[in-house]
Symmetry: C2
Subunit: 341 residues, 2 copies
Amino acid sequence: MTIKISIDCMGGDHGPSVTIPAALSFLKQQPEAELILVGLEDVLRAELKKHHAASNARLSIRHASEVVAMDDPVEVALRRKKDSSMRVAVELVKDGSANACVSAGNTGALMAVSRYVLKTMAGVDRPAICSILPNQKNGPTYMLDLGANVDCEPHHLHQFAIMGSVLFSAMEGVARPTIGLLNVGTEEIKGNEVVKATALLLRADHERGALNFYGNVEGNDIFKGTANVVVCDGFVGNVTLKAIEGLSRFMKSVFKQSWLSMLGALIARGALKKLNPERYNGAGLLGLKGLVFKSHGGANAYAFEWALKRAFDAAKYNVQEQLSAMIADLMPDTPGAQRQG
Amino acid sequence: MTIKISIDCMGGDHGPSVTIPAALSFLKQQPEAELILVGLEDVLRAELKKHHAASNARLSIRHASEVVAMDDPVEVALRRKKDSSMRVAVELVKDGSANACVSAGNTGALMAVSRYVLKTMAGVDRPAICSILPNQKNGPTYMLDLGANVDCEPHHLHQFAIMGSVLFSAMEGVARPTIGLLNVGTEEIKGNEVVKATALLLRADHERGALNFYGNVEGNDIFKGTANVVVCDGFVGNVTLKAIEGLSRFMKSVFKQSWLSMLGALIARGALKKLNPERYNGAGLLGLKGLVFKSHGGANAYAFEWALKRAFDAAKYNVQEQLSAMIADLMPDTPGAQRQG
């Protein structure tokens, strides 16, 4: 089986100098993969040449004349740069040329372009961003939404839970992943009104065997690995994820302040690798009519390759079909199911 | 000038074995301090004896026959244990015997007991919990609310901003501390409805010179030290703080997994001390008619002493009077100002 991935090669802080070597390495690792490199053709060819590579049966180039900058407003990405590498990469998914696409471009633009080009899946009100974090059980914790939706109603969080469950199940090979609802305490009475109402929906799903709802989890449970999937609104998710990134960066800066602490960090690097966010790169934009994965903008080639691997796996394990099926099964009467055509 | 602090000596995971040595050490450091140790008299005397100390002119004992357990529901602390060390310590503030009180007991119980005993300050709708975090500029970032208020309206966040500004100013000796509003992006158009409406209130205060509103900040800005005070609702604050704690604990566990990484951590310990949460222990419960500080439940004696120092400083620098004055100045027409007697 061949899985085709379109890559926005111009996106991210580093563009082709990261995306091309990552693509070449992934192609070697994964004989079932076929990659479409999207971007300024000259630039891409030059970068391929640097690595003594050229396009071939499994590696094609699709020219796109524009680039969405990391600080471009969503409006610019959406309305003005209609031939951007980001947009063309997503359009390749839309027209069936690719099974999934990967971009390290700016998150807001990627989500807006993906929604515009692919449209939202039937039964889903709002697509969500699902990130992957390491935990103390040496497994991943999937967390969503990470910023696409700042004002959420219970049925939105309910849909996030379903989508997170499907993604975890397909990607990690776990039949009934546990779903935790992010809250300020574990007791049922804790939380704001939206979270309390969401818990009722998830508990009902749990009781009829549709979802494996663990219950409320707290911020520290993300890293404990208490539940496989942690559900929250995009405001909480975005702030939490950025706070975590901020702390990691702070720690790195502290290590760099003296040669002694750098030595310590060097000695402990084997252990620190466990915390390495590079392995966890590749967030899924879920709930669209097509698979889109977002790499961290600052990702290096190793990290970008992980995002490619995630997109590949999601296509291979039919995440899209499973999502549609589970949403149709659990959301027949939601406003979303009606609103979608 | 003498500052009197009442201490809930039974609170926290370790009780008197932490609170008593911390109190004794603080008393030596701070000749202006007078401490009232609250708890089971026999237990406190025995612990004092261990440290070859006894009550004296600056160190008195106030017997309280009950103890609020860390897992006691709020209701139990509030309605059943009326002679708890926590409650008596707060009552000593109420009746003027102490200028501030410190407890390492459970947060929900401490807030509920403090609200019940002291009542909310005029002009404040809801008290908030203000924690202190380290940042890359080697200064503290004050952050509130950390969990007392899960459903917030813009005027609540507005009040948190005022209270955080007063606390930072008094404690850190900064005339006009910068206030950041925690959001998913820095642009004005970003955020949920509550945050956008709050920004308007803070900007109006800024324009008439009342508050130094920096604008929106993101999760990573907490550790960058972009703004002195970070304002958010209690849901976001609680989840973020616990996620941060969770990541720290995860890292510690990773360091402990091999002797090599432990060696690395040992070598880097000087640097790691900068991140040490112990120095940042002591969260303020703001907006009550009296000063209450909360120590982390798991605090050791060194950390608990920091909480004592914070309570002492807050009383010494007249935080309470400054809070009342600024709230009266900026909140004359809020619903809260009317609701309070």
